[in-house]
Amino acid sequence: MAAEPITGAEIIVKALIDQGVDVIFGYPGGAVLPLYDALFKQNKVRHILVRHEQAAVHAAEGYARSTGKVGVVLVTSGPGATNAVTGLTDALMDSIPLVCLTGQVPTHLIGNDAFQEADTTGITRPCTKHNYLVKSVEDLSRKVHEAFYVARSGRPGPVLLDLPKDVQQAKYEYVNHAGQRHRTYNPVQKPDRSQVEKAVELMATAKRPLFYIGGGCVNSGPLACKMLVDFVRLTGFPCTQTLMGLGAFPASDPLSLGMVGMHGMFESNHAMHDCDVMINIGARFDDRVTGRLNAFSPGSKKIHVDIDPSSINKSVRVDIPVVGDVGHVVEEMMRIWKARQIKTDQKALATWWDQINKWRGRNCLKYKPHDTIIKPQFALERLYAAIKDKDFYISTEVGQHQMWAAQFLKFEKPNRWMTSGGLGTMGYGLPAAYGVQVAHPESLVIDVAGEASILMNIQEMATLVQYRLPVKIFIMNNKWMGMVRQWQELLHGGRYSESYSDALPDFVKLAEAFGASGLRAEKPADLDGVIKEMIDIKGPVMVDVCVDEKENCFPMIPSGAPHNEMLLGPDDQSARPVSDEGMVLV
């Protein structure tokens, strides 16, 4: 290699550029000063200065999930790295591809309890897909490229590179290792054909089939989702989506049954329970979806398509496992289906659809409107009416508002919906939203928030203002940690222990103090005007929507209950006490 030796920090920046990175989210500190210096001297990679390292990771998640690219984070050693842990865990649970660069004390000080030293690879081993402590500059470019490869291959996830300061400063020549084959990690992409054939044969005989699709479809990419939509339409089977899978199948399609799971649609959960052939594509039988395992879809044969073999037969035994990338698998399914000119059992399917339509007829999202109090559901209906023809992206925080957003906002395309599914991280939504906005500067990006969650990363308002990121924060302010209150009502005799959001700030003034705009809606009649103003304002806006304090989120499958025992509203709730086994579940 005749290349000129450059510093480790410069090697990293070159590798980022060769990986197509255009933006990173970070926060500086002593152990990453050489890297910040290298960033200063170039203009290909943009740096967004966050206000807390957790937010850097969520922002990178929003960026990654809305673009399909790997999100990149840069933080310092010690507290910088420990602050990133929640975000990394979040990304691991939701299979979001990230590369997180952490500074580390120089190699000769590692293990000495040096200033701002933490055992970062030790701490993050269980919350990353993989991590590296790079001890020598010779390994640096190979490891940076490898980190990107690992993050995006197979089931995506966060990968961390711990970078001692002396390694950032040492000199070596840069070699572009992008595209190199990995020695051990080469996940299967293309499925075993005979498994796909078996799956198609089972589908062809189905009388009560159901597609159950999840976040893996989104990860497989827009093209894979498009093929999936074509395939589902070809079969004419109903299709339900998980929280993470919203948008992978168009909500407005007549075949869509909407979301499944704890706060999913009545028709979806009943269809899950009663189906005879379940086609799980890129979902993981999460406990929020299955409810009580021994009562989960008792009469169905199950097909499970997943790129991660360890997802298969983890909690639910399946009949036909198919390991592979959703895009490849669906393409193969489609080919076989067409080649064999599959004819489904039309009569049985018509009966199945009749049944589904009866369930749909229960209109499970209905709520009691009110003249003077804003119902949270109504607020979201008005929000959706105002944005549905626009190019919009939604993120959420965690709580009742998140579930209502999943129920009342409709997604026609993948990559438009960012929510913390697996970890349920309050404070995710605001940074995730601006991560999206950075990638899509012209689009309308809204964080549907709760008044409690938004305070968990409220400092990020400063980031919005600094970069003029016109994110809209739509706070569904019910003055309660509503989801906690709802569980206390259901499970703990209405003893509302510590779930009241006391001493709330004035969100309008708070927004203004940060240099953003603040708006408030207090009555149903205010809503449309306030929403319009929020959209019209060019910069970041925080909207305090004063919603009903008492409203609970339905439908709901209480913990420990099977799918066909959903609560549809407050009256059901008092009629059915939760079992002892249900009480211990979360």
């Binding site: 081993r125 269980p126 991590n131 051990t184 021994n294 991660d308 073999p309 360890s310 037969n313 035994r317």
Partner: protein, 169 residues
């Protein structure tokens, strides 16, 4: 779920011998609540920096399948072989057994060691250290017999295992 049987499996895991790889494997077992009955590790190919981990674990068939899949997806893992399923295989363990006694007990310890083909690798007037290789059961039996004869200390390697026949894994 039906009451599933708990099975004992021996797995051979070939890994890149890089920093932290053992912590990754152990962390996987502790983090997901899997059992480790025995675990051994050593580099087996110095040029390629490849190590072999032999782990004996137990669980329901579903858990065993999970363990294999979870191990398989760790980035530095080359291969996972379930020797219990892909048998027949060999399992060996080595122990150093210290017996401190005098008189008749000392003579009896030596006699039994001879029957078990244990070697004396250290001796004083009051003690022996025996080296013994064999199956776990054989080691257990030997150590059991030494108890009344002045058993003072035991150090065991844990199980190493390999497929029988010409095929490698």
């Amino acid at each position: 779920m039906k009451d599933a049987m708990i099975e004992r499996h021996t797995m051979s895991v070939v890994v890149d011998n890089e920093a932290g790889v053992l912590a990754r494997v152990i962390g996987l077992f502790s983090g997901r609540g899997y059992n480790i009955e025995s675990l051994t590790v050593a580099e087996v190919d110095a040029d390629q920096h490849v190590s072999r981990i032999t782990v004996v674990t137990s669980g329901t068939p579903m858990i065993i399948e999970q363990i294999k899949n979870q191990l398989q997806r760790l980035v530095p893992v080359h291969s996972v072989t379930d020797l219990t399923v892909e048998g027949p295989s060999l399992e060996r363990e080595m122990a150093l057994v210290k017996v401190a006694s005098t008189g008749e007990k000392r003579v009896e310890a030596l006699r039994i060691a001879d029957i078990f083909r244990a070697r004396v690798v250290d001796a004083t007037i009051e003690s022996f250290v025996f080296e013994m290789t064999g199956s776990t059961e054989k080691l257990n039996a030997f150590i059991g017999l030494m108890k009344p004869l002045g058993l003072a200390d035991v150090s065991r390697t844990g199980i190493v295992a390999m497929k029988r026949g010409s095929e490698a894994n």
